[in-house]
Point group: C2
Chain length 114, copies 2
């Protein structure tokens, strides 16, 4: 079963990599930018997520660079990861639509219907 619900940080890491290959630290910054600073990935969270996603085949190492004597490991979304991200997005959208529909119905009827 691949349908274990993905947590928010993991989803955002995949979304970041959907824009193209990025290294870990850049992902942290991208996620912060995407969420208007609301989600600030911890180093522990990020690298654990990258390892997990790599083990699951959703991402893979794109290339490694050395910039100013510091290693930069770039990650890339795989085909499987792309499919998985699309499925997760669709699920999120459906659930949002569902909840919004029910919330709207409450107000249309002027209270909680039995």
């Amino acid at each position: 079963m691949t349908d274990t619900p993905m947590r928010e940080p993991t989803f955002l890491v995949l979304t970041a990599l959907a824009a193209g290959p990025q290294h870990g630290y850049a992902v942290i910054e991208d996620v912060a930018r995407m969420t208007d600073g609301r989600v600030r990935l911890r180093a522990g969270t990020l690298y654990a997520a990258l390892d997990r996603l790599r083990t699951d085949g959703l991402i893979e190492v794109d290339r490694e660079e050395v910039v100013q004597s510091r290693l930069r490991r770039y990650y890339r979304l795989t085909g499987v990861g792309e499919t998985r991200l699309a499925a997760e997005s669709s699920r999120l959208r459906q659930q949002a639509t569902l909840a919004e529909g029910r919330l709207r119905a409450r107000h249309d009827l002027g209270g909680a219907p039995a």
Copy 2:
């Protein structure tokens, strides 16, 4: 900070209650129906979530009934819960839109852009 990301089962419990007061077992069935059988809440997951949501003031006990000598405790969404569910829905929709936009851009350019 109330913006701790809500997990899927919890979100679905709130969505179920958004339709009107329901008792625990009915919530399990409603969630299964809503998700086409994909999400089958365990008893442990549900009642723990109900306790947590009640502690956090997102839901409250609506009434208690005894049907065929069995207790039925009905829960109701509070105003706080309604606001919270609306916020979560909006967040889910935004993230879905973001991911979908990036996935679409990949294909428009025929590959992962740098």
